[in-house]
């Protein structure tokens, strides 16, 4: 069991959100450049080179760290764009680069030995052998764990590896192993690995029909809502489908992850850092969620329980429905 204080890692989609997260008590923020080199490539989000340098100064002045995600897979013939992003992150004084592509990891390991390397969840490394390989080859210091592992599995993994682990505690819930899911590109042509997007908004349509609203992605009906029912975003794996004579949320209900009640379990499992998801979220959301988790983590670090986190976060989850996901073995 680890005795180090757990680190709270928070999303920063914009410079304003970075400041909000830092002021709300983030130990570290993670962000990306305004291009396809990171897995949240949305218009209006992310950082320029100067904004990152400024963000790093602000965070360091307040005792927080900055982790830069360069975690999509580099495009054939354009690998230099990804290498250059890594160079800019290193030059900005950021504390770590989060990467998944062998090419990006190799580039950073060879050229920027002073910066920490974290293995992105997009690399889907979930065994001691895989994590050991990345550690031996690239010197990764931390691995971000896929959202499909149980607490028991995380504890066993931590006993077998000597790099830090970071686990998601709040926000979106990927039910597929990240970095190895092509559902989005199958339907829309755009994917997390290649384009940094999943179920992209430009492919979404909400069609009013006599019985209500159909939410479609690229023409595929992902869900349908009755009149007056709140309409959800048609994320592929949270839709309703027909299979085996049943209509159901086959892959996952439209819920989001809240493992706030599992912070002490994650600590006992040896997890070093807790990650809040949501770089596309606004300042208000980030402030509130980070503040709530700051209190909860501090309570656990003092030997108490993460009391009341659900109440503190009421209203911040997708469809107000939450799950602790795969951390509980029965999820599977």
């Amino acid at each position: 069991m680890t005795t180090t204080r757990m680190e709270l890692v928070c999303p920063a989609g914009t410079p304003a959100t970075l400041r909000a997260a830092v002021q709300a008590g983030a130990d570290a923020v993670y962000c990306g450049f305004r291009d396809e080199t990171n897995a949240r490539n949305f218009p209006g989000l992310n950082f320029s080179r100067d904004e990152l340098a400024e963000g790093v100064r602000f965070a360091h002045d307040h005792g927080s760290k900055v982790l830069v995600a360069i975690n999509t897979f580099a495009r054939v013939d354009d690998v230099d764009i990804w290498k250059k992003a890594a160079d800019m992150a290193a030059e900005s004084g950021a504390d770590a680069i989060i990467a998944a592509d062998f090419a990006v990891l190799d580039h950073v390991a060879r050229n920027h030995k002073q910066i920490r390397l974290h293995l992105s969840v997009q690399a889907a490394a979930a065994t001691p052998e895989a994590i050991g390989f990345y550690a031996a080859r690239f010197g990764i210091r931390r691995v971000v764990l896929p959202r499909v592992l149980s607490l028991q599995e995380i504890a066993a993994l931590n006993r077998a590896i000597d790099v830090e682990t970071e686990a998601f505690v709040f926000g979106g819930l990927c039910v597929m192993i990240e970095g190895r899911c092509y559902l989005s590109s199958y339907a829309t042509g755009k994917s997390p690995n290649l384009n940094g997007v999943c179920s992209p908004p430009e492919m979404v349509s909400y069609d009013e029909e006599p019985s209500g609203t159909a939410a479609r992605l690229s023409g595929f009906t992902i869900d349908r809502y009755g009149r007056g029912q709140p309409v959800g975003y048609p994320t592929l794996c949270k839709g309703r489908f027909k299979a085996g004579g049943k209509t159901s949320h086959l892959f996952e209900d439209p819920v989001s992850l809240n493992a706030g009640g599992m912070i002490s379990g994650l600590k006992a499992a040896g997890v070093t850092a807790l990650k809040i998801e949501g770089r596309q979220r606004g300042k208000g959301y980030v402030s509130e969620v980070v503040r709530a988790f700051r209190k909860a983590v501090d309570a656990v670090e003092k030997g108490g329980e993460a009391v009341d986190i659900d109440r503190l976060l009421a209203g911040q989850s997708e469809g107000a429905r939450q799950t602790s996901g795969a951390y509980e073995k029965k999820w599977r």
Binding site: V76, I177, R180, Y182, Y186, G189, F251
Partner: protein
């Protein structure tokens, strides 16, 4: 024109031992394939069923003149699963790595990098080649142009394109067959055995869309990339992968052999495939850098 080799990928589905034995007997004797992958890739819980048949299958295939490749699990998790990956990686035969977990025990010996390993660019391909990758079958979402560009820059390895079969789109920690039947993964009762091509997943408007196979999600549609051999040769792509379905795979192999030997036009090959008893309609969007479900003109 250089020879285009044909590979039979691993069976993704939970086929009974008898079905596997029958299937590979016919493949060994009748299918014009150069290389055949064997092994459980999707779910370690199925291994106690299939493991006993592999020695006989491998012997038969090798006697039939096929190169056998041992495919490893795509998402090993338990101690037993991890040990099986390590054991397979120690084998003298060619091994397909489907997860980075296999790399430490295989580095230095030759291997195939399977479609579950993320190789998206020439620098990553070179990294794996330096570790021993001889054949690289990139993720299915990559286009022919992208794979060709990698291939041209990495002539020291063979590049293989996923040409036929339901497309492997995702893996999860959760078993969807169990979930549909109200069970948990740990007590799944192996219900995936009822769906030897995977279970179709349709939208609320009955659009055919996906298929599930235990922890795996596939396309409902069947990839049918039917390139002219000179188009492949021009990009340095030397292998086509055919992924087993319950349809007549010997006939699928014959169609692709005629196509690769320039004895059949791409449109005719495609038509011949469409006449088989397939679990879905034919698509080829991915290879043309379009959404995977789309159908486009042949290369």
């Amino acid at each position: 024109m250089s020879e285009i080799a044909l590979t039979l990928g691993p069976v993704f589905f939970h086929w009974s031992p008898d079905r596997l034995l029958d299937f590979y007997r016919r493949i060994a004797d009748e299918a014009p394939l150069d290389r055949v992958h064997v092994g459980e890739v999707v779910c370690g819980k199925r291994m106690p069923f299939s493991d006993p048949v592999w020695p006989a299958v491998i012997e038969r295939l090798e006697r039939g003149g096929k190169q056998v490749v041992l495919s490893t699990l795509a998402a090993p998790a338990t101690v037993r699963e991890r040990r099986s990956v390590g054991d397979l990686c120690g084998d003298e035969r060619m091994v397909e790595i489907n997860d980075v977990s296999g790399l430490p025990s295989r580095s230095g010996k030759s291997f195939v990098a399977g479609p579950f390993v993320n190789v998206y660019n020439e620098a990553s391909a070179k990294f794996l080649i330096q570790l021993g990758a001889q054949t690289i079958c990139p993720p299915v979402e990559l286009s022919f142009a992208a794979i060709g560009a990698m291939s041209v820059k990495c002539p020291e390895a063979e590049f293989e394109i996923f040409a036929f079969g339901r497309l492997p789109l995702a893996l999860s920690g959760r078993c969807y067959h169990a979930r549909i039947h109200g069970l948990h993964k740990d007590s799944c009762q192996f219900t995936c055995e009822k769906d030897p091509d995977g279970l179709s997943v349709d939208t609320l408007d009955d659009q055919q869309f996906l298929a599930v196979n235990g922890v795996q999600t596939l396309s409902n549609q069947v990839q049918a990339f039917c390139p002219a051999p000179d188009a492949l040769a021009a990009k340095g792509v030397r292998r086509l992968r055919l992924s087993p379905q319950t349809c007549d795979m010997v006939e699928v192999a014959r169609i692709y052999r005629r196509l690769a030997d320039a004895k059949e036009e791409p449109e005719d090959a495609r038509f011949a495939l469409s006449c088989l008893d397939l679990p879905g309609t034919l698509v080829d969007g991915y290879v043309h850098a379009k959404p995977g479900w789309q159908v486009t003109a042949p290369v």
